[in-house]
Symmetry: D2
Amino acid sequence: MKTPVQPPDLDELKQRIRAFAFERGWERYHTPKNLAMALIGEAGELIERFQWLSPEESVHLNPERHEQVRQEIADVLIYLIRLADLLDIDLLQAAADKIELNGQKYPVEKARGNADKYSEL
Amino acid sequence: MKTPVQPPDLDELKQRIRAFAFERGWERYHTPKNLAMALIGEAGELIERFQWLSPEESVHLNPERHEQVRQEIADVLIYLIRLADLLDIDLLQAAADKIELNGQKYPVEKARGNADKYSEL
Amino acid sequence: MKTPVQPPDLDELKQRIRAFAFERGWERYHTPKNLAMALIGEAGELIERFQWLSPEESVHLNPERHEQVRQEIADVLIYLIRLADLLDIDLLQAAADKIELNGQKYPVEKARGNADKYSEL
Amino acid sequence: MKTPVQPPDLDELKQRIRAFAFERGWERYHTPKNLAMALIGEAGELIERFQWLSPEESVHLNPERHEQVRQEIADVLIYLIRLADLLDIDLLQAAADKIELNGQKYPVEKARGNADKYSEL
């Protein structure tokens, strides 16, 4: 399935997803509200691939499970790109800004000292 | 908050997220199983921003809501990047492959003819 | 499918779900962490039944869709009962306490006055 | 917080939740579509309580975490009751029917023989 050529960048994917929806007359269904639902639906399918695995097993997926997870991850990204497109959000910039914000929220010294309490952070 | 420079690409974000986890001693928490949970947790926060809005309202978010949504979208992407990193999945290629697969699953002619039944597709 | 007899109460359902897991040797998979995942996975399937419907359409489901939704709702409840059982939580009492707590959090006068801002509450 | 009296049954909770929404003028927000979103939003908050815990830790929650989980579980149940109410679904009967259906789907002999492959079932 993998092509030997360079994978497309996020912008190219955005264009393909736009075209996909347009060609099928699905644009009217693609409100941000509905897309947020579709996104979490796919995240739910992703969860189902992991729910009965131990944390260790989840690190070493067999090839079949790995491919299923790869497809669910792809579905989440597709809806994320589409949602960001409709709301005029630059995904990469948004993530970069959030990483910086998280850095202020969880300073290294405090986070390290409380590693055991990560779940409280 | 936004810097005038070019936003980083996915690869650069992956490196920053790796460093973020490493510096805080959080790597041991970052199993694929746990990250899938964190991802859907963020998707849940995204849903909460939309749940009482009409589909129309979700198209025209006020600036404050738009920024909240932008941050939740960023959080989803951050965990998606981290999860894909741990499972050695190329996000862009995975999405490109899935769009192609979806194209076979929902051929244009059939999809258009059943636009009203989109929810059944 | 519906039997003419009285439906079981929550306690009886809890016993049946216990037996179901025991008979299949599934108890070891049923940690609270895993059950919380299974629950949100089912909630994701529920979401998928509604995601492309307008709010109005979601009120008037056709019989087939209604039955699908009924089954997804049942799955969510089953995992909720199982999770509460393992954590020794009385579901009915927990809900009653939470309704009271929510009443303090959203007093009637304030909530009514801000109905348009429900999403901010 | 717990009262010494008998906890209410599901039907009594349904009435209280109805009154809660009515008194606050929130009925118009409570379409099945929106309630399915609110439900998964609460399920997401539940997931966040477990995401960094090991499966073992999730079995032995400290009192504070246990109370947080109890409240999230209550929130999920409250939205489940409300959603079922609006769609005229008898929660207990729906769960009883689904348990029976699941019994046909996963017969004991087959399930036991494949306990190690539970995740494939």
